[in-house]
Symmetry: C2
Subunit: 226 residues, 2 copies
DNA sequence: GGAATAGTGTCTCTTAGACACTATGTA
DNA sequence: TACATAGTGTCTAAGAGACACTATTCC
């Protein structure tokens, strides 16, 4: 294998959050061609000495202004020969989750960044619709298989109802409250903080919980993926 | 994103088969530096106009002499800045399965290719031990979650005992024959071919089955991954 | 007959689903 | 009080695990 052929290597990131009881993803508006004015996943070129996941984190930080997202994992490589009209670009896609869903500032004042509900997306640049499809599948499957991933989507301390709302947002279907409660409490993942949330509208106040540190899934970064 | 930086893009493939009731993977002996003489996953550079999975298939065909493996899926991208001493090489790894486990011929007479049991591997070139670790995890998780993947590891027609042997090889632990049989027959995945295998040693001959075409998992190639 | 492999009957335990019920807050 | 949300008791059905049993072949 002689280094015969070179391609551009980029990263793109699908960052998911829960907003207004719905699953949202971060998109940025492109300021330059190609696809100027279209919405796209945050991303960019990998630097020569930069690990892939570091590039993903850097691009995310540049778009959000946040220093660190608590969970990020590789999604897949997208390398269709003509996915970028400028030439061959292989994109390593990542997916990430954050319990913070506050203001995001764009890369500069020209570029806008905002949260979009995953079930009402705009048209996307490049093959980002495919990437996002893939990422959405991934987060659903992961969360469905291990509810502990919810701890990265819901800020602690949380009530069991908040966990359920997040789960329903990710799965896109209602979840039986009784069964979820029974399951979560049986796992021993949660520490009960005597505190009760109250004052938020009518209804009985709920108990608040914090996840045990060892129950929080660690970010695989670029380690082995299941 | 101006095309500032270029890297070499390669593919590597972990092809799994069942051999002598054990899970094996295809490795090739490197003929040239770096890592001359060491064993490595089959792989090579992606051509300019070549889709990634096509490159993976091509490299596999060159190493095995087989035209087509029935299942191949993307594993992950490995892009550590110094994983290749010659410079920056991003490798897109694939994993594949085949029910054929016969002779493989090397790329040429100089390069050897052979099957290695996954639980007794030699030292590997580059970061291929990490890739293979990842691939082994992947096949285990996939098969454990959906036994239909076994149809790509066991040549049809097969007996339920053959399926069980393959499953045990992949999972690395014994599986209860009664429960597996009950489960498989309940799924309606199998068509009973009246044929009975016989003449192979002592014991009652077993019924033979063929998987229904719609029960055979299709190769995702580069479509969305779960 | 004995060894080896294929296949069955059936009990238990765990878990998910469903749903009616009670508890405690706000307006 | 009515209403909304939190939380409990409990029946049911499905599936996994275990294990003793029968069936059919080769030697």
């Amino acid at each position: 294998m002689g280094e015969k052929y070179y391609a551009t290597v980029a990263v793109d990131v699908a960052l998911f959050v829960i907003l207004h009881k719905r699953l949202h993803v971060l998109l940025v508006e492109r300021g330059h061609p190609p696809f100027a004015g279209a919405w796209a996943l945050p991303g960019g070129i990998v630097e020569p000495e930069e690990p892939l996941v570091a590039a993903a984190r850097r691009e995310l930080a540049e778009e959000t202004g946040w220093e660190r997202v608590p969970y990020i994992a590789q999604l897949a490589a997208f390398g269709d020969p003509h996915r970028d009209p400028r030439g061959r670009v292989i994109s390593i896609a990542y997916w990430a989750m954050s319990p913070r869903a506050g203001e995001v500032r764009g890369r500069d004042d020209a570029a806008r960044a905002r949260w979009w509900p995953v079930d009402a997306l705009p048209a996307l640049a490049f093959d980002h619709d495919r990437i996002l499809d893939c990422a959405y599948n991934r987060i659903r499957n992961h969360v469905a298989q291990d509810y502990r991933y919810l701890f990265h989507l819901v800020p602690a301390p949380f009530t069991l109802a908040e966990l359920r709302t997040a789960l329903e947002a990710v799965l896109g279907r209602p979840v039986n409250a009784r069964n979820l409660r029974r399951f979560l409490l049986a796992q021993g993942w949660l520490k009960h903080t005597g505190v009760r949330s109250s004052g938020r509208g009518p209804g009985r106040p709920a108990q608040e919980y914090v996840p045990l540190p060892e129950a929080i899934p660690t970010s695989p970064e670029d380690r082995c993926l299941p």
